[in-house]
């Protein structure tokens, strides 16, 4: 007996009779005898709801929380209380992809509104229902770059993008005859001096990230024009919270904007679910992957929404499709829409400003009192990087802080081999001045241990 399977023994008996077989195993008579599993699965016996909750609490309790200064793509930010109630509404949570528009107007309208919000934040023209995460969004943007320029083979990538994004790009493209070419780096920033050397018909586009992996803001003045003169595309990845203060992708002249909406209403949750976002110039609409909700009318002439441009998609085009994506992270995107509705532009600016001020306060105090100065001089948004010069010293500092209940930063050496000793510290609007002062005091002790 199982509460998710409602059949009584009598139900089963009568239904078997109706089908015209004797017993359950007769329903599997088409499975060749030699293939059938003739033993029980080696999985524990089932648990009651109460038992499983107690087990899950035990597993959860084996994880530790701390005052978090961890960033590099996932952040401990404020989530308004109203978000969780809405994303648990059963008609959002337990619905499939909105294939039947007449009974999915709510979902379709929510997606349409999400697309609009992403367009507004990035400054670009069109967007979609979301992608898996910010890292795979980079891969999808890269595919758009390759697709829009026949015979292009090279994607230039800034050395300061998230190392995991670079890994995803290489997984997607390096066995396909495409080249993922990384530009040189200096002082925590990409060097664009060599860009002209790559400007030829093999160049699909340039992919950069700002704020970058060190938290630094990058200056893209003049970059877009150089790329566009050649016919290549410009892709910028940004933490969307930074867009509350710093230039949007469109203002730098980007053709495609991507990132991850985790900072907007989504829990860190060990990295997922979040939602990748993508926006692009109008001319790239039909090259955009994933689901798109479009406005139309119903037979009465009323405004209605429907999944549109499906001719691009795999269930119609099969092997001729330009992307294999047939879902999105709808519920996560919904959380972001609710967050942005509640916060409004005023709120996003406020949260961005708070993060900026608090990060700079911590950076200044650490430099002045603990001798921990930022490793780079370029401006930053809410993350900064300190050079502990060796993996051991960085590890010792982070361990010591951890013992004080502080997750003090991300050791970049754990993300890429060539960054040993560098620790990136993220400060969000959620951290209070007491917590920041506590960080500084703890850091003074930690460096002197």
């Amino acid at each position: 007996m199982n509460s998710y399977i409602p059949h009584s023994e009598e139900d089963v008996r009568e239904m078997l009779l109706a089908v015209g077989v004797q017993e359950i195993d007769d329903l599997f008579s088409d499975v060749p005898e030699e293939l059938r599993l003739k033993r029980d699965l080696n999985i524990p016996e089932g648990l009651s709801e109460e038992e499983v909750l107690s087990l899950m609490r035990k597993y959860a309790s084996m994880n530790t929380l701390g005052t978090s200064y961890l960033g590099c793509g996932s952040y401990d930010r404020i989530i308004p209380s109203a978000v969780s109630g809405i994303v648990s509404l059963p008609t959002f949570a337990t619905a499939y992809t909105p294939y039947q528009p007449e009974i999915s107007q709510g979902v379709l309208q929510a997606i349409f509104e999400f697309q609009t919000m992403i367009c507004e934040l990035t400054g670009l023209d069109v967007s979609n229902a979301s992608l898996y995460d910010g890292h795979t969004a980079a891969a999808e943007a890269a595919a758009m770059c390759f697709n829009q320029r026949r015979k292009s083979q090279t994607l230039l990538v800034s050395p300061t993008v998230h190392p995991f994004t670079l890994k995803v790009l290489k997984s997607y493209f390096s066995d396909m005859g495409f080249s993922i070419t990384v530009l040189p780096e200096k002082d925590g920033l990409p060097v664009f001096d060599s860009l002209p050397d790559y400007l030829d018909s093999s160049l699909a586009g340039l992919f950069v990230q700002s704020p970058n992996i060190y938290g630094l803001l990058e200056d893209y003045s003049g970059v877009a024009d150089m790329l566009h003169d050649e016919g290549a595309l410009f892709v910028i990845s940004s933490d969307p919270m930074s867009l509350g203060m710093v230039k949007s992708q469109a203002e730098w002249g980007a053709d495609i904007a991507i990132g991850d909406t985790q900072p907007f209403g989504l829990h860190q949750c060990f990295g997922g679910p979040t939602a990748g976002y993508i926006a692009a110039r109008e001319k790239l609409l039909r090259k955009m992957p994933g689901r798109i909700s479009g406005q139309t009318v119903d037979t009465d002439g009323n405004r209605a929404f429907v999944l549109t441009l499906q001719a691009r998609e795999q269930h119609i085009k099969r092997e001729r499709a330009t992307s294999n994506i047939c879902s999105n992270q709808a519920l996560a995107a919904l959380a972001t829409s609710v967050y942005l509705s509640l916060a409004g532009w005023d709120g996003i600016q406020k949260a961005a400003e708070l993060s900026y001020q608090k990060a700079h306060y911590l950076a200044a105090k650490l430099a002045a009192t603990a001798g921990l100065s930022p490793a780079f001089s370029a401006p930053f948004f809410c993350e900064f990087t300190i050079d502990f010069t060796s993996e051991e010293r960085a590890g010792k500092f982070l361990d010591s802080m951890k013992k004080r209940g502080i997750f003090a930063g991300v050791h970049l050496g754990s993300l890429s081999q060539n960054r040993k000793g560098l620790v990136t510290i993220a400060v969000t609007e959620k951290r209070t001045i007491e917590e920041l002062d506590c960080y500084v005091e703890s850091a003074m002790e930690a460096v002197n241990e």
């Binding site: 998710y4 409602p6 089963v12 109706a18 329903l27 499975v31 999985i43 089932g46 648990l47 499983v52 909750l53 597993y59 959860a60 530790t64 996932s74 308004p80 969780s84 059963p90 959002f92 949570a93 499939y96 528009p101 009974i103 979902v107 609009t116 367009c119 400054g123 069109v126 979301s130 795979t136 890994k167 997984s171 005859g177 203060m245 949007s248 860190q268 060990f270 997922g272 679910p273 609409l285 119903d298 009323n302 001719a311 269930h315 085009k317 099969r318 092997e319 001729r320 499709a321 994506i325 879902s327 999105n328 509705s341 509640l342 005023d346 709120g347 001020q357 608090k358 306060y361 609007e429």
Partner: protein, 499 residues
Amino acid sequence: MSSIRRTLDERLIFEKSKKGRRGYLFPACDIPIHAQNKPLSSTYLRKITPKLPEVSEIDTVRHYNQLGRKSFGVDLGFYPLGSCTMKYNPKVNEAAASLEKFTEIHPLQDTSTVQGALKLIHELTGYLCEITGMEWGTMQPFAGAQGEYTGMKLFRAYFMQRGETKRNNLIVPSSSHGTNPASAHLAGFTVIEIPADERGLVNPEFLEPYLNDELAGIMLTNPNTLGLFEADIAKAAKKIHNAGGLLYYDGANMNAIMGKVRPGDMGFDVVHLNLHKTFSTPHGSGGPGAGPVLVSERLIPYLPVPDVVFDGNNYDFNWDRPQTIGKVAGFNGNFGILVRAYTYIRVMGKNGLKRASEIAVLNANYLRVKLMETYELTYPGLCKHEFVLSARRIKEDTGISAMDIAKGLLDLEIHPPTMYFPLIVPEALMIEPTETETRETLDEFADIMISLAELAYREPDDLHSAPHTTPVRRVDEVLAARKPVVRWREKTDPNLIHP
């Protein structure tokens, strides 16, 4: 009263905006003014103001609740959407996944502080391997389609390592899910479609022309999209393997066979599962789901990094996999979905999982028998978890199509079956009831389907113009695609759809 229409509900959130309204207030800045930093240089400062809505908290809550009322989920009613396994999503899964020490952990925390999360991933990988008969796997892929893509990358890496660079041909049956050929093509393979034989099955003889040193392998789902078990799978697997190829199992239909027969025992080398189908995690109106990939021994070296390992005392990430295909997710995939699926597996246990498949198959066959007289069953005989009806005869007699029948169901608050798929059945209605539905629900559904067929002969116009009671009537998809409007813009008159 019926002439009075409420219009406030129908606005977009942007159209509800009123200057100065706030739905949330962030705390005031607690950094003393004198310690505050100067603003950024104008080189970096944003100049254009985005138009986000300005709405109160109650506006926001009502807006989304109203949208919720204009949608439909498994919690509201029967959802026999074929190949999608819309089973009930147990609420204890949600309770487990919302535990703070799952939701608030950072993906880059020191592994000593996420032992519970790593243990869960490690054990889940083991359980999924046991269910599928595979050796190890990755939890990174976010969805079934990404699982397929990952699997194709594993194929590629395996052949590269062996120096078999000519192996480019990938076979898919014509009844396969559309993502199969799309994933294979995007991973650089040449897709070869083979037809089903008169049984609706893959015929090993049809593979013969492709059994050579250019064969990469085959992608199959078993049971297939007609709901039929591929009886010759062992023979086909042998042929493919003897020719040096590999077999990929699309696990979309795993709900039919848990504890009964395993892809690994059928000869498959790579399997993806859809945790949002078989393992009861909610579909979220289009995601997040999860598409873990499980592999046989020889493909383990190519799996994505990092692997989750256990040394008997502690769990850790292991990055040391020199032949890895790399990463297919930034972090650990949709961890929150993994927690739900793990919870489900522990509640069901070995007997519950097997029972789920048995009853899923019983429910499907019960409906099949009830409906196969009124509609046509193109490929008759025992089905597994789903079956495909054809409305071809009804269409020829009355002009009423599978689409019209589906729209008729909407008025009765039942989600329609999958329509016009697989492509090899005309006017297809693909029905998957799942094990969580009662016999009474199935009986009512069968009665309704029969009544709709009768209505097609009696009053076809009623179905032509369905649905009648939904928030909108049939929508103009052609207009949406021809003149795409994919975002709201200010000053757009809501009555002027395409200015």
